[in-house]
């Protein structure tokens, strides 16, 4: 048993274990161990502990009777703990907040299932549900989310399994790119929607921010991502550094600190007067050059040297436009 499991955490598991078996009447050791994320040995320890519970007054008795002969668990006596404990506030909130967020995502096919589930869980959670209304997540949807809107079109393409054509804006290069994409999933990460798909131009899996899609056309061809199109593991983050990335070092004034909140930085260190030094990695420094122009005196590019001179040249060229 993991040394990190506290007595109350184990109690929580035991209080779920009894109803788990009761609601299934008979259930295998291996299956149960897997469901609770413990080894079979740990599970047997749990079962023995339950079986040994004894109350002494008024007369001694054992409230729980069970067996696990032949690898099959049966609880024949569970008395008052045959049902699981109610959802705690944290537990109810985690599910309800997530469901309410899902309800805001357009293109979700199972909208009726979602509202039925929401109502059932609110009901089951009772009072524990009330705090969940104090946590809210707003999903940013691109403009025009009517029936002809982008998200609706994308939802249709996903469920019909059709290829789409995108006009997609890349702000860092100030470029509108044209590409055909075989949609795989609609990702909603931290309230922001992305299309994940096989980009035929890049011959790779790409994620596209929906608010940067200038135009989307559903094509007649079927979407057929190749077998090597592996979905992005969203739990590892959408932006992953690559060995080819350039390291960029910036110094920001107090006014420029937002950069560290907005862009994923590899390191951030505080300097006097609220200034910051940040290090970021990027495959393309074009957007950092633009960012430096945008920040003016609130940002100094420290390295790489090539970028430092690019920023200077670009600012000088831009200023020259103003000399009449």
């Amino acid at each position: 048993m993991s040394a990190l499991v506290t007595s109350t955490e184990r109690l929580q598991r035991l209080l779920a274990l009894v109803p788990y078996v009761v609601s299934r009447k008979v259930v295998g050791l291996a299956e149960t161990a897997a469901a609770f994320g413990v080894s079979e040995r740990e599970l047997v320890d749990d079962l023995n502990l339950l079986w040994c519970v004894e109350l002494r007054a008024p007369d001694p008795y054992c409230p729980i009777d069970l067996s696990y002969e032949g690898g099959e668990i049966v609880v024949s006596q569970a008395e008052s703990i045959a049902r699981p404990l109610r959802l705690a506030v944290d537990e109810a909130s985690a599910l309800l907040v997530a469901l309410r967020m899902l309800a805001e995502v357009p293109g979700l096919e199972d909208r009726s299932a979602l509202s039925r589930l929401l109502a059932k869980l609110e009901d089951a959670a009772g009072e524990a549900a009330s705090v969940s209304s104090q946590v809210a997540v707003q999903v940013d949807m691109p403009s025009g989310d009517g029936p002809d809107g982008l998200a609706a079109q994308l939802g249709a393409a996903l469920s019909a399994g059709r290829r789409v054509h995108l006009r997609y804006y890349v702000p860092g290069r100030d470029e509108a790119t044209e590409r055909d994409v075989d949609p795989m999933r609609l990702l909603v990460v931290d309230g922001r929607p992305y299309l994940e798909g096989w980009c035929l131009r890049a011959e790779g899996v790409r994620t596209f921010r929906l608010d940067r899609v200038l135009q989307l056309t559903v094509l007649d061809q079927a979407s057929s991502p190749p077998p090597e199109a592996t979905p992005v593991d969203v739990d590892q983050g959408l932006f992953r550094p690559s060995p080819d990335d350039v390291h960029v070092e910036l110094e920001l004034s107090a006014e420029g600190r937002w950069v560290a909140e907005y862009y994923p930085c590899e390191s951030v260190s505080d300097l006097p007067d609220g200034r910051l030094r940040v290090m970021l990695r990027t495959p393309d420094t074009g957007w950092v050059r633009r960012l430096a122009l945008r920040l003016g005196e609130d940002c100094r590019v420290l390295s790489p040297p090539a970028l430092v001179s690019e920023v200077h040249q670009s600012a000088a060229a831009a200023l020259a436009n103003y000399v009449v």
Partner: protein, 321 residues
Amino acid sequence: MSKRKTERLLGLVVCLLSTGRYLTAEQVREAVPGYPEQDDLFKRMFERDKEDLRDLGVPLETGLNHPFDDDPGYRIRQQAYELPELRLEADEAAVLGLAARVWQRAELAGAAAGALLKLRAAGIEAGDEPRAARGIEPRLGTPEPAFGPLWEAVRDRRPVTFSYRAAGRSEPQRRELEPWGVVNRHGRWYVAGWDRGRGAIRVFRLGRIAGAVKFCGPAGSVTVPDGADVRELVRDWDSAPARDHTAVLRVRPGTGVGLRQHAVSVTADETEPDRWDLVTTRFADVGSFADYAAWFGPDVVVLDPPDLREAVIRKLKGVLT
């Protein structure tokens, strides 16, 4: 972890659930094995056990069987303890699976897993990835360290204090807040509530909280006013101001894609032979639109209004100094 403690707590739960009437501490000691003989040791241990059970969400009640009883008694009502009967259709179970994955690596991941375990114990299996391969996959992160304590404070209605670095400020300031709720907007977490120092409703961005969030009052001491809508408070705080000014820009052909997208009009600039375009667009305030225009570098020149033009020139000079 102590096996003896788990055994004792389990016995305590079963004992208090099985009794119809309130049991005094003394009666509990007689019924549940594992409590020490010495009175003071027992008292301390029993107090801690009650607290542990309440932390788990076990609805432990205190009361008297008879108005003239000296010592309070304890019990757990079966109805208050049990998860009510719940049945899910297959499509509802699929959505449940989706919802449970939302927090994956975030602060409430453990809570979501705990909820799922209880539902499973009630015989409900959440759908596992039926639509994950082709459909929608939602995730929420809580990278801000302040999320955990602030969520607890909101849940338990406790006031907090923290130091906060407002936008553009060089030094953080101490704030004391009665938190009403936390909201995620544009992927960032905010807390809204009553700022005691300012005597006003305030919204704070969690990412700008420097250092630890500390509780500064007991649980239950914060009252969220009726009708307070934290979502709306954060939306108002963060909402984009109206674009009621007009700018005229010269834009190099084939560039300024983002600008053109929201333009009022785009026409060819006939005054110069270089075939640049004249783009007319609306903007909210000079400062942030100057930032935006500078992003395009030598591809965009502000012609009008003069204060916007000056702001861009100042910005570009700032790069060169």
